[in-house]
Protein backbone atom coordinates (compact mmCIF):
# COMPACT_ATOMS: atom_id res chain seq x y z
CA UNK A 1 0.00 0.00 0.00
CA UNK A 2 2.79 2.42 1.00
CA UNK A 3 4.52 2.75 -2.40
CA UNK A 4 1.28 3.21 -4.27
CA UNK A 5 0.18 6.00 -1.95
CA UNK A 6 3.49 7.73 -2.55
CA UNK A 7 3.28 7.27 -6.33
CA UNK A 8 -0.24 8.61 -6.44
CA UNK A 9 0.89 11.69 -4.50
CA UNK A 10 3.73 12.09 -6.96
CA UNK A 11 1.40 11.86 -9.96
CA UNK A 12 -0.92 14.37 -8.36
CA UNK A 13 2.00 16.75 -8.00
CA UNK A 14 2.88 16.27 -11.65
CA UNK A 15 -0.62 17.07 -12.82
CA UNK A 16 -0.55 20.23 -10.73
CA UNK A 17 2.82 21.28 -12.20
CA UNK A 18 1.60 20.70 -15.75
CA UNK A 19 -1.63 22.61 -15.22
CA UNK A 20 0.18 25.57 -13.63
CA UNK A 21 2.71 25.44 -16.46
CA UNK A 22 0.01 25.66 -19.09
CA UNK A 23 -1.69 28.55 -17.32
CA UNK A 24 1.58 30.47 -17.06
CA UNK A 25 2.36 29.76 -20.71
CA UNK A 26 -1.00 31.07 -21.83
CA UNK A 27 -0.82 34.29 -19.84
CA UNK A 28 2.86 34.87 -20.36
CA UNK A 29 2.97 34.39 -24.11
CA UNK A 30 -0.12 36.51 -24.64
CA UNK A 31 -1.57 33.92 -27.01
CA UNK A 32 -4.71 35.54 -28.40
CA UNK A 33 -6.85 32.72 -27.06
CA UNK A 34 -10.01 34.49 -28.06
CA UNK A 35 -8.99 34.21 -31.70
CA UNK A 36 -8.03 30.57 -31.45
CA UNK A 37 -11.18 29.44 -29.72
CA UNK A 38 -13.68 29.80 -32.60
CA UNK A 39 -11.27 27.90 -34.84
CA UNK A 40 -11.00 25.17 -32.28
CA UNK A 41 -14.66 25.11 -31.45
CA UNK A 42 -15.77 23.21 -34.53
CA UNK A 43 -13.05 20.60 -34.03
CA UNK A 44 -13.85 20.41 -30.36
CA UNK A 45 -17.53 19.70 -30.88
CA UNK A 46 -16.60 17.08 -33.48
CA UNK A 47 -14.26 15.54 -30.93
CA UNK A 48 -16.98 15.59 -28.26
CA UNK A 49 -19.57 14.03 -30.56
CA UNK A 50 -17.26 11.24 -31.75
CA UNK A 51 -15.96 10.60 -28.23
CA UNK A 52 -19.42 10.42 -26.67
CA UNK A 53 -20.57 8.30 -29.59
CA UNK A 54 -17.96 5.62 -28.93
CA UNK A 55 -18.45 5.85 -25.18
CA UNK A 56 -22.26 5.68 -25.16
CA UNK A 57 -22.26 2.90 -27.74
CA UNK A 58 -19.81 0.86 -25.65
CA UNK A 59 -21.38 1.32 -22.20
CA UNK A 60 -23.99 -1.48 -22.48
CA UNK A 61 -21.32 -3.92 -23.67
CA UNK A 62 -18.84 -2.90 -21.00
CA UNK A 63 -21.54 -3.34 -18.36
CA UNK A 64 -22.30 -6.79 -19.72
CA UNK A 65 -18.63 -7.75 -19.37
CA UNK A 66 -18.30 -6.40 -15.85
CA UNK A 67 -21.52 -8.07 -14.74
CA UNK A 68 -20.19 -11.31 -16.25
CA UNK A 69 -17.01 -10.85 -14.28
CA UNK A 70 -19.00 -10.18 -11.12
CA UNK A 71 -21.05 -13.29 -11.80
CA UNK A 72 -17.94 -15.45 -12.16
CA UNK A 73 -16.56 -14.14 -8.88
CA UNK A 74 -19.76 -14.41 -6.89
CA UNK A 75 -21.33 -17.56 -8.26
CA UNK A 76 -18.65 -19.80 -9.76
CA UNK A 77 -16.31 -21.88 -7.68
CA UNK A 78 -12.73 -22.80 -8.42
CA UNK A 79 -13.72 -26.44 -8.74
CA UNK A 80 -16.53 -25.72 -11.21
CA UNK A 81 -14.20 -24.05 -13.66
CA UNK A 82 -11.66 -26.83 -13.35
CA UNK A 83 -14.40 -29.31 -14.13
CA UNK A 84 -15.60 -27.54 -17.29
CA UNK A 85 -12.28 -26.68 -18.88
CA UNK A 86 -10.26 -29.65 -20.10
CA UNK A 87 -6.65 -29.75 -18.92
CA UNK A 88 -5.31 -30.82 -22.31
CA UNK A 89 -3.50 -28.15 -24.28
CA UNK A 90 -5.37 -28.43 -27.59
CA UNK A 91 -8.75 -29.22 -26.04
CA UNK A 92 -8.20 -26.39 -23.57
CA UNK A 93 -7.46 -23.91 -26.35
CA UNK A 94 -10.48 -25.05 -28.35
CA UNK A 95 -12.80 -24.86 -25.34
CA UNK A 96 -11.37 -21.46 -24.42
CA UNK A 97 -11.98 -20.09 -27.89
CA UNK A 98 -15.61 -21.22 -27.77
CA UNK A 99 -16.27 -19.91 -24.25
CA UNK A 100 -17.50 -16.66 -25.79
CA UNK A 101 -20.67 -18.48 -26.82
CA UNK A 102 -21.51 -18.69 -23.09
CA UNK A 103 -20.11 -15.26 -22.14
CA UNK A 104 -21.14 -12.95 -24.99
CA UNK A 105 -18.65 -10.13 -24.40
CA UNK A 106 -17.00 -7.68 -26.75
CA UNK A 107 -13.38 -6.67 -26.51
CA UNK A 108 -14.02 -4.15 -23.72
CA UNK A 109 -15.68 -6.74 -21.52
CA UNK A 110 -13.40 -9.66 -22.23
CA UNK A 111 -10.32 -8.35 -20.44
CA UNK A 112 -11.77 -8.07 -16.91
CA UNK A 113 -13.60 -11.34 -17.40
CA UNK A 114 -10.43 -13.17 -18.46
CA UNK A 115 -8.51 -11.83 -15.50
CA UNK A 116 -11.28 -13.01 -13.19
CA UNK A 117 -11.34 -16.43 -14.80
CA UNK A 118 -7.56 -16.74 -14.44
CA UNK A 119 -7.93 -16.08 -10.75
CA UNK A 120 -10.58 -18.75 -10.58
CA UNK A 121 -8.16 -21.32 -11.95
CA UNK A 122 -8.63 -21.10 -15.72
CA UNK A 123 -5.56 -22.58 -17.46
CA UNK A 124 -3.34 -20.14 -19.39
CA UNK A 125 -3.91 -21.72 -22.82
CA UNK A 126 -7.70 -21.64 -22.51
CA UNK A 127 -7.62 -18.10 -21.08
CA UNK A 128 -5.54 -16.64 -23.91
CA UNK A 129 -7.68 -18.41 -26.52
CA UNK A 130 -10.78 -17.00 -24.81
CA UNK A 131 -9.29 -13.50 -24.66
CA UNK A 132 -8.54 -13.52 -28.40
CA UNK A 133 -11.63 -15.33 -29.67
CA UNK A 134 -14.53 -14.26 -27.45
CA UNK A 135 -15.01 -10.79 -29.00
CA UNK A 136 -15.82 -12.50 -32.32
CA UNK A 137 -16.99 -16.00 -31.44
CA UNK A 138 -20.11 -14.97 -29.61
CA UNK A 139 -23.75 -14.91 -30.65
CA UNK A 140 -24.12 -11.10 -30.76
CA UNK A 141 -21.14 -10.54 -33.04
CA UNK A 142 -22.03 -13.44 -35.33
CA UNK A 143 -25.51 -11.96 -35.71
CA UNK A 144 -24.28 -8.44 -36.38
CA UNK A 145 -21.70 -9.69 -38.90
CA UNK A 146 -24.31 -11.75 -40.70
CA UNK A 147 -26.71 -8.83 -40.87
CA UNK A 148 -23.99 -6.71 -42.44
CA UNK A 149 -22.44 -9.24 -44.82
CA UNK A 150 -25.06 -11.98 -45.03
CA UNK A 151 -24.37 -15.64 -44.27
CA UNK A 152 -21.50 -15.78 -46.74
CA UNK A 153 -17.78 -16.35 -46.93
CA UNK A 154 -16.99 -13.13 -45.07
CA UNK A 155 -18.78 -14.39 -41.96
CA UNK A 156 -17.25 -17.86 -42.26
CA UNK A 157 -13.82 -16.34 -42.84
CA UNK A 158 -14.14 -14.01 -39.89
CA UNK A 159 -15.32 -16.62 -37.42
CA UNK A 160 -13.08 -19.42 -38.70
CA UNK A 161 -9.88 -17.39 -38.91
CA UNK A 162 -10.48 -15.64 -35.57
CA UNK A 163 -10.83 -19.06 -33.97
CA UNK A 164 -7.72 -20.33 -35.75
CA UNK A 165 -5.66 -17.34 -34.66
CA UNK A 166 -7.00 -17.50 -31.11
CA UNK A 167 -6.28 -21.22 -30.76
CA UNK A 168 -2.81 -20.80 -32.27
CA UNK A 169 -2.00 -17.90 -29.94
CA UNK A 170 -3.32 -19.96 -27.02
CA UNK A 171 -1.17 -22.92 -28.01
CA UNK A 172 1.93 -20.73 -28.27
CA UNK A 173 1.27 -19.66 -24.71
CA UNK A 174 1.36 -23.29 -23.59
CA UNK A 175 5.03 -22.77 -22.68
CA UNK A 176 3.69 -20.67 -19.80
CA UNK A 177 2.88 -22.87 -16.86
CA UNK A 178 0.94 -20.57 -14.57
CA UNK A 179 -1.03 -17.35 -15.00
CA UNK A 180 1.37 -15.71 -12.54
CA UNK A 181 4.00 -15.67 -15.28
CA UNK A 182 1.95 -13.47 -17.58
CA UNK A 183 -0.25 -11.44 -15.21
CA UNK A 184 0.92 -8.37 -13.35
CA UNK A 185 1.26 -9.17 -9.63
CA UNK A 186 -1.58 -6.73 -8.95
CA UNK A 187 -4.06 -8.64 -11.11
CA UNK A 188 -3.10 -11.84 -9.37
CA UNK A 189 -3.56 -10.71 -5.82
CA UNK A 190 -7.04 -9.86 -6.80
CA UNK A 191 -8.68 -13.18 -6.00
CA UNK A 192 -5.98 -14.57 -3.76
CA UNK A 193 -6.19 -11.87 -1.15
CA UNK A 194 -9.87 -12.39 -0.65
CA UNK A 195 -9.48 -16.11 -0.36
CA UNK A 196 -7.01 -15.55 2.46
CA UNK A 197 -9.20 -13.31 4.57
CA UNK A 198 -10.85 -14.92 7.50
CA UNK A 199 -14.24 -13.42 6.80
CA UNK A 200 -14.56 -14.98 3.37
CA UNK A 201 -16.96 -17.82 3.62
CA UNK A 202 -16.99 -20.62 1.07
CA UNK A 203 -19.27 -19.65 -1.78
CA UNK A 204 -21.80 -22.36 -1.07
CA UNK A 205 -22.54 -20.94 2.38
CA UNK A 206 -23.49 -17.49 1.21
CA UNK A 207 -27.07 -16.50 0.60
CA UNK A 208 -28.22 -15.78 -2.95
CA UNK A 209 -28.78 -12.14 -2.06
CA UNK A 210 -25.30 -11.76 -0.67
CA UNK A 211 -23.91 -13.26 -3.88
CA UNK A 212 -26.02 -10.90 -5.98
CA UNK A 213 -24.81 -7.93 -3.96
CA UNK A 214 -21.21 -9.03 -4.33
CA UNK A 215 -21.70 -9.40 -8.07
CA UNK A 216 -23.01 -5.83 -8.35
CA UNK A 217 -20.24 -4.33 -6.24
CA UNK A 218 -17.58 -6.12 -8.26
CA UNK A 219 -19.27 -5.03 -11.47
CA UNK A 220 -19.06 -1.42 -10.23
CA UNK A 221 -15.37 -1.76 -9.37
CA UNK A 222 -14.59 -3.24 -12.76
CA UNK A 223 -16.71 -0.65 -14.54
CA UNK A 224 -14.52 2.07 -13.09
CA UNK A 225 -11.30 0.17 -13.66
CA UNK A 226 -11.95 -0.81 -17.25
CA UNK A 227 -14.05 2.28 -17.98
CA UNK A 228 -10.90 4.35 -17.57
CA UNK A 229 -9.30 2.64 -20.53
CA UNK A 230 -12.44 2.82 -22.58
CA UNK A 231 -12.49 6.57 -21.94
CA UNK A 232 -8.80 7.06 -22.70
CA UNK A 233 -9.07 4.92 -25.83
CA UNK A 234 -12.21 6.66 -27.02
CA UNK A 235 -10.67 10.09 -26.54
CA UNK A 236 -7.53 9.08 -28.46
CA UNK A 237 -9.59 7.66 -31.31
CA UNK A 238 -11.89 10.70 -31.34
CA UNK A 239 -8.93 13.08 -31.20
CA UNK A 240 -7.30 11.47 -34.20
CA UNK A 241 -10.55 11.56 -36.14
CA UNK A 242 -11.22 15.18 -35.34
CA UNK A 243 -7.71 16.43 -36.06
CA UNK A 244 -6.19 14.07 -38.67
CA UNK A 245 -7.98 13.81 -42.02
CA UNK A 246 -9.04 10.24 -42.75
CA UNK A 247 -8.22 10.95 -46.38
CA UNK A 248 -4.53 10.72 -45.53
CA UNK A 249 -4.96 7.11 -44.53
CA UNK A 250 -7.26 6.18 -47.38
CA UNK A 251 -4.96 7.53 -50.05
CA UNK A 252 -2.25 5.05 -49.19
CA UNK A 253 -4.70 2.16 -49.14
CA UNK A 254 -4.00 0.34 -52.40
CA UNK A 255 -2.23 -2.87 -53.28
CA UNK A 256 -2.74 -6.31 -51.76
CA UNK A 257 -0.41 -5.69 -48.80
CA UNK A 258 -0.72 -1.99 -48.02
CA UNK A 259 -4.52 -2.06 -48.16
CA UNK A 260 -4.49 -4.79 -45.49
CA UNK A 261 -2.05 -2.82 -43.36
CA UNK A 262 -4.13 0.35 -43.68
CA UNK A 263 -7.36 -1.38 -42.69
CA UNK A 264 -5.62 -2.97 -39.70
CA UNK A 265 -4.30 0.43 -38.67
CA UNK A 266 -7.80 1.80 -39.05
CA UNK A 267 -9.20 -0.99 -36.85
CA UNK A 268 -6.76 0.03 -34.12
CA UNK A 269 -7.39 3.76 -34.49
CA UNK A 270 -11.16 3.62 -34.69
CA UNK A 271 -11.37 1.30 -31.65
CA UNK A 272 -14.95 0.35 -32.34
CA UNK A 273 -16.74 -2.35 -30.40
CA UNK A 274 -16.58 -5.77 -32.06
CA UNK A 275 -20.36 -6.04 -31.89
CA UNK A 276 -20.75 -3.28 -34.46
CA UNK A 277 -17.52 -3.19 -36.42
CA UNK A 278 -19.03 -5.28 -39.22
CA UNK A 279 -21.29 -2.39 -40.13
CA UNK A 280 -18.32 -0.08 -40.24
CA UNK A 281 -16.32 -2.49 -42.36
CA UNK A 282 -19.23 -2.41 -44.79
CA UNK A 283 -18.53 1.27 -45.37
CA UNK A 284 -15.06 0.39 -46.67
CA UNK A 285 -16.02 -2.52 -48.91
CA UNK A 286 -16.02 -0.43 -52.06
CA UNK A 287 -12.68 1.23 -51.28
CA UNK A 288 -10.58 -1.64 -49.98
CA UNK A 289 -9.64 -5.17 -51.04
CA UNK A 290 -11.58 -8.13 -49.55
CA UNK A 291 -8.48 -9.26 -47.67
CA UNK A 292 -8.20 -5.84 -46.07
CA UNK A 293 -11.83 -5.96 -44.90
CA UNK A 294 -11.33 -9.45 -43.49
CA UNK A 295 -8.14 -8.42 -41.67
CA UNK A 296 -10.03 -5.45 -40.21
CA UNK A 297 -12.75 -7.77 -38.92
CA UNK A 298 -10.27 -10.26 -37.44
CA UNK A 299 -7.63 -7.96 -36.00
CA UNK A 300 -9.84 -5.14 -34.64
CA UNK A 301 -11.54 -7.23 -31.95
CA UNK A 302 -8.18 -8.59 -30.77
CA UNK A 303 -6.14 -5.40 -30.70
CA UNK A 304 -7.13 -1.74 -30.63
CA UNK A 305 -6.26 1.34 -28.62
CA UNK A 306 -8.54 0.62 -25.70
CA UNK A 307 -7.81 -3.11 -25.45
CA UNK A 308 -4.08 -2.40 -25.56
CA UNK A 309 -4.49 -0.06 -22.60
CA UNK A 310 -6.56 -2.71 -20.81
CA UNK A 311 -4.00 -5.44 -21.58
CA UNK A 312 -1.26 -3.23 -20.14
CA UNK A 313 -3.19 -2.86 -16.90
CA UNK A 314 -3.60 -6.61 -16.49
CA UNK A 315 -0.69 -8.40 -18.20
CA UNK A 316 3.08 -8.06 -18.03
CA UNK A 317 4.59 -5.94 -20.80
CA UNK A 318 6.21 -8.89 -22.57
CA UNK A 319 2.90 -10.70 -22.66
CA UNK A 320 1.19 -7.65 -24.15
CA UNK A 321 3.81 -7.53 -26.91
CA UNK A 322 3.00 -11.14 -27.82
CA UNK A 323 -0.74 -10.51 -27.54
CA UNK A 324 -0.40 -7.74 -30.13
CA UNK A 325 2.31 -9.17 -32.37
CA UNK A 326 0.95 -12.70 -32.86
CA UNK A 327 -2.58 -11.70 -33.96
CA UNK A 328 -1.05 -8.90 -36.03
CA UNK A 329 1.17 -11.22 -38.06
CA UNK A 330 -1.51 -13.86 -38.48
CA UNK A 331 -4.25 -11.40 -39.51
CA UNK A 332 -1.86 -9.75 -41.96
CA UNK A 333 -0.99 -13.13 -43.44
CA UNK A 334 -4.66 -14.09 -43.73
CA UNK A 335 -5.60 -10.81 -45.43
CA UNK A 336 -2.70 -10.80 -47.88
CA UNK A 337 -3.18 -14.48 -48.78
CA UNK A 338 -6.85 -13.88 -49.49
CA UNK A 339 -6.00 -10.93 -51.73
CA UNK A 340 -3.41 -12.92 -53.67
CA UNK A 341 -5.68 -15.93 -54.08
CA UNK A 342 -8.89 -14.07 -54.95
CA UNK A 343 -7.55 -11.26 -57.10
Amino acid sequence: MQPSVRSSRKSRLWVLVVVIGIIILIFDSQIPIVQILPLLEGKLTTFATVFLGIFIEAIPFLLLGTLGSGFVEAFLDHSQIQRFIPRGILTGALTGSLLGMVFPVCECGVVPLTRRLFNKGLPVVAGIAFLMAAPVLNPIVILSTSSAFGWGWMLVGRVGLSMLIAVTTGLLFSVVKSPSEILLPASLRFGGKRAGTSTTQPLAQRSFRAKLNLMMVIAADEFFEMGRFLILGASLAAGMQAFIPQQVLLQVGHGPVTSVLVMMALAVLLSICSTVDAFIALGFVSIFSPGAILAFLIFGPMVDIKTTLMYLSVFKKRTVVYLILLPFLMSLLAGVLLNLVVV
Partner: protein, 248 residues
Protein backbone atom coordinates in the same frame (compact mmCIF):
# COMPACT_ATOMS: atom_id res chain seq x y z
CA UNK B 1 -10.06 8.13 0.81
CA UNK B 2 -12.06 5.95 3.15
CA UNK B 3 -13.81 2.98 1.69
CA UNK B 4 -17.20 4.35 2.60
CA UNK B 5 -16.54 7.64 0.87
CA UNK B 6 -15.13 5.77 -2.16
CA UNK B 7 -18.31 3.73 -2.45
CA UNK B 8 -20.44 6.88 -2.15
CA UNK B 9 -18.47 8.53 -4.97
CA UNK B 10 -18.76 5.43 -7.13
CA UNK B 11 -22.49 5.39 -6.54
CA UNK B 12 -22.77 9.10 -7.28
CA UNK B 13 -20.91 8.74 -10.59
CA UNK B 14 -22.87 5.67 -11.70
CA UNK B 15 -26.16 7.41 -10.98
CA UNK B 16 -24.95 10.65 -12.59
CA UNK B 17 -24.01 8.70 -15.71
CA UNK B 18 -27.45 7.08 -15.68
CA UNK B 19 -29.13 10.48 -15.39
CA UNK B 20 -26.88 11.96 -18.11
CA UNK B 21 -27.94 9.21 -20.51
CA UNK B 22 -31.58 9.56 -19.48
CA UNK B 23 -31.48 13.27 -20.29
CA UNK B 24 -29.99 12.49 -23.72
CA UNK B 25 -32.68 9.87 -24.36
CA UNK B 26 -35.57 12.06 -23.24
CA UNK B 27 -34.35 15.15 -25.10
CA UNK B 28 -34.02 13.12 -28.29
CA UNK B 29 -30.33 14.01 -28.56
CA UNK B 30 -29.15 10.43 -28.19
CA UNK B 31 -29.40 9.99 -31.96
CA UNK B 32 -26.62 12.54 -32.33
CA UNK B 33 -24.31 9.96 -30.77
CA UNK B 34 -25.53 6.53 -31.80
CA UNK B 35 -27.62 4.80 -34.46
CA UNK B 36 -31.29 4.66 -33.37
CA UNK B 37 -31.19 0.87 -33.28
CA UNK B 38 -28.89 1.04 -30.22
CA UNK B 39 -31.32 3.13 -28.17
CA UNK B 40 -32.91 0.09 -26.43
CA UNK B 41 -29.43 -0.99 -25.32
CA UNK B 42 -28.77 2.45 -23.85
CA UNK B 43 -32.10 2.31 -22.00
CA UNK B 44 -31.05 -1.06 -20.58
CA UNK B 45 -27.66 0.38 -19.63
CA UNK B 46 -29.40 3.21 -17.73
CA UNK B 47 -31.39 0.67 -15.71
CA UNK B 48 -28.26 -1.35 -14.90
CA UNK B 49 -26.24 1.80 -14.02
CA UNK B 50 -28.93 3.03 -11.62
CA UNK B 51 -29.31 -0.45 -10.08
CA UNK B 52 -25.58 -0.93 -9.53
CA UNK B 53 -25.36 2.65 -8.26
CA UNK B 54 -27.95 1.92 -5.58
CA UNK B 55 -26.41 -1.40 -4.56
CA UNK B 56 -23.01 0.27 -4.24
CA UNK B 57 -24.54 3.07 -2.17
CA UNK B 58 -26.04 0.54 0.24
CA UNK B 59 -22.75 -1.37 0.33
CA UNK B 60 -21.04 1.91 1.20
CA UNK B 61 -23.44 2.73 4.00
CA UNK B 62 -22.81 -0.70 5.49
CA UNK B 63 -19.03 -0.51 5.51
CA UNK B 64 -17.60 0.30 8.88
CA UNK B 65 -20.62 -1.14 10.70
CA UNK B 66 -19.64 -4.75 10.29
CA UNK B 67 -15.99 -5.15 9.52
CA UNK B 68 -16.82 -7.79 7.02
CA UNK B 69 -15.28 -8.78 3.77
CA UNK B 70 -16.20 -5.45 2.21
CA UNK B 71 -13.30 -3.97 4.10
CA UNK B 72 -10.63 -5.89 2.23
CA UNK B 73 -12.30 -6.38 -1.05
CA UNK B 74 -12.54 -3.19 -3.09
CA UNK B 75 -9.96 -1.03 -4.68
CA UNK B 76 -7.95 -4.12 -5.39
CA UNK B 77 -4.27 -3.49 -5.70
CA UNK B 78 -4.03 0.19 -4.91
CA UNK B 79 -6.65 0.71 -2.29
CA UNK B 80 -9.44 3.17 -2.93
CA UNK B 81 -8.11 6.02 -5.00
CA UNK B 82 -10.04 9.06 -6.05
CA UNK B 83 -7.97 9.32 -9.22
CA UNK B 84 -9.40 6.13 -10.56
CA UNK B 85 -12.85 7.67 -10.32
CA UNK B 86 -11.76 11.01 -11.71
CA UNK B 87 -11.27 9.66 -15.24
CA UNK B 88 -14.88 8.54 -15.37
CA UNK B 89 -16.01 12.12 -14.80
CA UNK B 90 -14.46 12.99 -18.18
CA UNK B 91 -17.44 11.93 -20.35
CA UNK B 92 -19.74 13.81 -17.99
CA UNK B 93 -17.53 16.89 -18.14
CA UNK B 94 -17.27 16.73 -21.94
CA UNK B 95 -21.00 16.15 -22.22
CA UNK B 96 -21.83 19.10 -20.01
CA UNK B 97 -19.11 21.63 -20.84
CA UNK B 98 -18.70 21.30 -24.61
CA UNK B 99 -21.89 22.43 -26.34
CA UNK B 100 -23.64 19.36 -27.75
CA UNK B 101 -23.83 19.27 -31.50
CA UNK B 102 -24.41 16.60 -34.10
CA UNK B 103 -21.63 16.25 -36.68
CA UNK B 104 -21.67 19.19 -39.08
CA UNK B 105 -19.55 20.91 -41.68
CA UNK B 106 -16.70 21.40 -39.20
CA UNK B 107 -16.13 17.66 -39.28
CA UNK B 108 -15.81 17.55 -43.06
CA UNK B 109 -12.04 18.06 -43.11
CA UNK B 110 -11.35 15.11 -40.83
CA UNK B 111 -14.04 12.81 -42.09
CA UNK B 112 -13.70 13.21 -45.81
CA UNK B 113 -16.34 12.88 -48.46
CA UNK B 114 -17.43 9.52 -49.73
CA UNK B 115 -19.35 8.92 -52.90
CA UNK B 116 -18.87 5.21 -52.44
CA UNK B 117 -22.06 4.49 -50.60
CA UNK B 118 -22.26 0.94 -49.29
CA UNK B 119 -25.26 -1.12 -50.19
CA UNK B 120 -26.08 -3.64 -47.48
CA UNK B 121 -25.96 -7.26 -48.52
CA UNK B 122 -28.43 -8.22 -45.82
CA UNK B 123 -31.44 -6.87 -47.68
CA UNK B 124 -33.23 -3.67 -46.70
CA UNK B 125 -31.09 -1.66 -49.08
CA UNK B 126 -32.18 1.94 -48.90
CA UNK B 127 -31.70 2.62 -52.55
CA UNK B 128 -34.87 2.04 -54.49
CA UNK B 129 -34.35 2.62 -58.14
CA UNK B 130 -38.00 3.23 -58.88
CA UNK B 131 -38.35 5.78 -56.08
CA UNK B 132 -39.75 9.15 -57.13
CA UNK B 133 -36.80 11.42 -57.85
CA UNK B 134 -37.90 14.29 -55.61
CA UNK B 135 -38.13 12.05 -52.51
CA UNK B 136 -34.53 10.81 -52.74
CA UNK B 137 -32.11 12.13 -50.14
CA UNK B 138 -28.45 12.96 -50.68
CA UNK B 139 -27.34 9.48 -49.65
CA UNK B 140 -29.71 7.85 -52.10
CA UNK B 141 -28.60 10.10 -54.95
CA UNK B 142 -25.00 9.17 -54.26
CA UNK B 143 -25.96 5.51 -54.08
CA UNK B 144 -27.62 5.75 -57.49
CA UNK B 145 -24.61 7.41 -59.06
CA UNK B 146 -22.34 4.85 -57.46
CA UNK B 147 -24.29 1.68 -58.21
CA UNK B 148 -24.94 2.42 -61.85
CA UNK B 149 -22.02 2.65 -64.23
CA UNK B 150 -23.98 5.06 -66.39
CA UNK B 151 -25.61 7.74 -64.25
CA UNK B 152 -26.93 9.52 -67.34
CA UNK B 153 -30.33 7.85 -66.83
CA UNK B 154 -30.83 10.05 -63.80
CA UNK B 155 -29.57 13.27 -65.30
CA UNK B 156 -32.21 15.93 -65.59
CA UNK B 157 -34.44 14.44 -62.91
CA UNK B 158 -35.72 16.94 -60.35
CA UNK B 159 -33.96 16.73 -56.97
CA UNK B 160 -35.37 18.07 -53.73
CA UNK B 161 -32.90 17.56 -50.90
CA UNK B 162 -31.94 19.12 -47.59
CA UNK B 163 -28.50 19.30 -46.03
CA UNK B 164 -25.94 21.66 -44.54
CA UNK B 165 -23.84 24.10 -46.54
CA UNK B 166 -20.13 23.38 -46.94
CA UNK B 167 -17.72 25.49 -48.96
CA UNK B 168 -15.09 23.14 -50.33
CA UNK B 169 -11.90 25.02 -51.30
CA UNK B 170 -11.76 23.17 -54.65
CA UNK B 171 -15.14 24.40 -55.83
CA UNK B 172 -15.57 27.07 -58.46
CA UNK B 173 -17.30 30.37 -57.75
CA UNK B 174 -21.05 30.07 -57.58
CA UNK B 175 -20.93 26.53 -56.23
CA UNK B 176 -21.32 25.01 -52.78
CA UNK B 177 -21.74 21.53 -51.36
CA UNK B 178 -24.94 20.45 -49.68
CA UNK B 179 -24.04 17.60 -47.33
CA UNK B 180 -25.31 15.13 -44.78
CA UNK B 181 -23.48 12.72 -42.54
CA UNK B 182 -24.36 9.06 -42.89
CA UNK B 183 -23.51 6.55 -40.21
CA UNK B 184 -24.00 2.89 -39.41
CA UNK B 185 -23.03 2.81 -35.74
CA UNK B 186 -21.88 6.06 -34.19
CA UNK B 187 -20.15 9.27 -35.32
CA UNK B 188 -16.84 7.36 -35.21
CA UNK B 189 -17.72 5.72 -38.50
CA UNK B 190 -19.69 8.58 -40.04
CA UNK B 191 -18.93 9.65 -43.59
CA UNK B 192 -20.16 12.69 -45.47
CA UNK B 193 -22.26 12.44 -48.59
CA UNK B 194 -22.60 15.58 -50.71
CA UNK B 195 -24.07 17.02 -53.84
CA UNK B 196 -22.56 19.99 -55.65
CA UNK B 197 -25.01 22.85 -55.93
CA UNK B 198 -24.66 25.41 -58.68
CA UNK B 199 -26.17 28.64 -57.38
CA UNK B 200 -24.97 32.14 -58.20
CA UNK B 201 -25.41 33.48 -54.66
CA UNK B 202 -23.44 30.58 -53.09
CA UNK B 203 -21.02 32.90 -51.34
CA UNK B 204 -23.82 34.46 -49.27
CA UNK B 205 -24.67 31.15 -47.59
CA UNK B 206 -22.93 30.62 -44.24
CA UNK B 207 -21.22 27.27 -43.65
CA UNK B 208 -23.40 24.87 -41.63
CA UNK B 209 -26.64 26.60 -42.58
CA UNK B 210 -29.29 24.00 -43.40
CA UNK B 211 -30.86 24.49 -46.82
CA UNK B 212 -33.45 22.89 -49.06
CA UNK B 213 -32.25 22.70 -52.65
CA UNK B 214 -34.46 22.06 -55.68
CA UNK B 215 -33.45 21.67 -59.29
CA UNK B 216 -32.44 19.25 -62.05
CA UNK B 217 -29.62 16.82 -61.37
CA UNK B 218 -26.36 16.89 -63.33
CA UNK B 219 -23.05 15.18 -62.84
CA UNK B 220 -19.72 16.86 -62.01
CA UNK B 221 -16.14 15.90 -61.25
CA UNK B 222 -14.70 17.04 -57.93
CA UNK B 223 -11.33 15.90 -56.59
CA UNK B 224 -11.40 12.92 -58.94
CA UNK B 225 -14.85 11.73 -57.88
CA UNK B 226 -17.99 11.79 -59.97
CA UNK B 227 -20.64 13.50 -57.87
CA UNK B 228 -24.26 14.31 -58.48
CA UNK B 229 -24.86 18.03 -58.76
CA UNK B 230 -27.93 20.23 -58.73
CA UNK B 231 -28.52 23.14 -61.07
CA UNK B 232 -30.39 24.96 -58.33
CA UNK B 233 -33.74 26.51 -59.18
CA UNK B 234 -34.33 27.45 -55.55
CA UNK B 235 -32.26 27.39 -52.35
CA UNK B 236 -34.34 27.84 -49.23
CA UNK B 237 -33.02 28.30 -45.67
CA UNK B 238 -34.52 25.68 -43.33
CA UNK B 239 -34.17 24.44 -39.75
CA UNK B 240 -32.05 21.34 -39.14
CA UNK B 241 -34.24 18.20 -39.32
CA UNK B 242 -34.78 16.23 -36.08
CA UNK B 243 -32.75 13.35 -37.54
CA UNK B 244 -29.63 15.03 -38.80
CA UNK B 245 -27.91 11.83 -39.96
CA UNK B 246 -28.81 9.46 -42.75
CA UNK B 247 -28.59 5.70 -42.29
CA UNK B 248 -27.46 3.49 -45.14
Amino acid sequence: MSLRLYRYFQSLLLIALGIFLTVKIVSGKLIWYIHPRFIPLTVLAVVVLLLIGMVVFIAGSRTGQDHGEEEQEPGHEHGPSAWRLAVVTLPLAIGVLIPAHPLNASAMGGKGISSAVPITAGGNATIQFDQAADTRNILQWNGLFNSNADPSTYLGQEANVIGFVYHDPNLKDGQFLVGRFALVCCPADAFAVVMVVIWPQSATLPTNQWVKVKGPVQSVQLNGQTLPSIQAVSVELVDPPPQTYLYP
